[in-house]
Symmetry: C2
Subunit: 205 residues, 2 copies
DNA sequence: GTCTATACACCGATAGAC
DNA sequence: GTCTATCGGTGTATAGAC
């Protein structure tokens, strides 16, 4: 009788190829923009013909889907790593959390567009790829509760306000700091509104 | 010697055809989404073959450009009409202005996407089409100054915060009211922060 | 299983006849 | 000013070589 191998080398190779393809897609997105990720360009970069990509992904949107899931997984890992570093003071913790989000968002434009904006027209993430983003939101809500912000309404609002800053930054002052520099002020406004204790996050004007 | 006609019938006809084309593009955008506005679809709706559109517009993006300019012109007209209606109380005037924006934005999704988001990948508005949006912002700044909000920093922030609400509404609760219902609250937060006088815009919690 | 060759239907855009 | 014909591009499908 034959011994069962304890590793599936074929599956490993397949997974490695999928990673290669997704990496190539990220490279192209970084160089030429997210909308210029074409199957032919991806294929050329990994040394295939474009139809061969269908062996590994069932469609172009499936590649976007893998990128979407990877991006949110990376962000989830980033904020999970921060677990012990959260300041004890509520307002400082709030600023720390949302600065982490802003830093991650601004570090990579095509990644941000894929994660948070609708630049790829047809694309809707699958449930599997959506899962890490759900876990991110769960963790965010949990930490907000820990800080002293338990109401869903308040968490929604906080996320929307910071999202507005990031969007305005990309749209009206790309590469600059005109909007994002007001993050401490926005969080102070928000903290004041919900009566969160602690010293102000910005200098008094 | 020949008399000069006081109307250029040819130019009038040309302008009418351009309008027909733009109207057809809006119809398609409303029915099938902004990204499904193809030259063939537009041509079919106006009873032409697609290459004939190039007689009236130099490219597909030129059609988007005309739509962009028209949308901002419409919004400019909307807020200019409101000139006498602005409440005297600063906070009420603030709410009135931004509710007008939110109403206009939510009334027509493809229009909002074209005006404020980057859903058409290649498209950048020409200077001419951009002009009405500049006039809108100038008028907004002027009215904010009248209300008692002269600082550019504050105007930027107010616009970004409300933009964040609208974006979050479309992205996370389309057709609902979860984010937009918090508009009075956001404006109160903002008004409190800059020390704008007047009674609160929302009930005390 | 993995990849290639070929083809299809669609896109925006152009050339040239009428 | 509008047409037909066509170009190079796209995502996608499938037959078949290895």
């Amino acid at each position: 009788m034959s011994a069962l191998p304890n590793r599936d080398r074929r599956a490993e190779r397949r997974e490695a190829t999928r990673r290669e393809i997704v990496d190539a897609a990220w490279d192209i997105a970084g160089d030429d923009g997210l909308e210029n990720v074409t199957l032919r360009a991806v294929a050329e970069r990994v040394g295939m013909r474009s139809p061969s990509l269908y062996t590994h992904f069932e469609s172009k949107n499936a590649i976007y889907d893998a990128m979407f899931g990877q991006a949110w997984s990376d962000y989830l890992a980033t904020i999970e790593d921060l677990d012990g570093e959260l300041p004890a003071a509520p307002r400082k913790a709030l600023l720390f959390m949302l600065m982490t989000f802003v830093d991650f968002a601004t570090a990579n434009l095509p990644r941000f567009q894929l994660m948070n904006q609708r630049v790829v027209a047809d694309f809707t993430p699958t449930e599997a790829s959506y899962a890490p983003s759900v876990r991110v939101m769960d963790l965010f809500r949990e930490r907000m509760r820990t800080i002293g912000i338990p109401r869903a309404e308040d968490v929604d609002l906080c996320a929307a306000l910071v999202g507005g800053l990031v969007d305005a930054q990309f749209a009206n002052d790309p590469g600059g700091n005109r909007y994002l520099k007001q993050l401490p002020r926005v969080l102070d406004m928000f903290a004041d509104d919900i009566g969160l204790p602690g010293p102000t996050l910005r200098r008094i004007r």
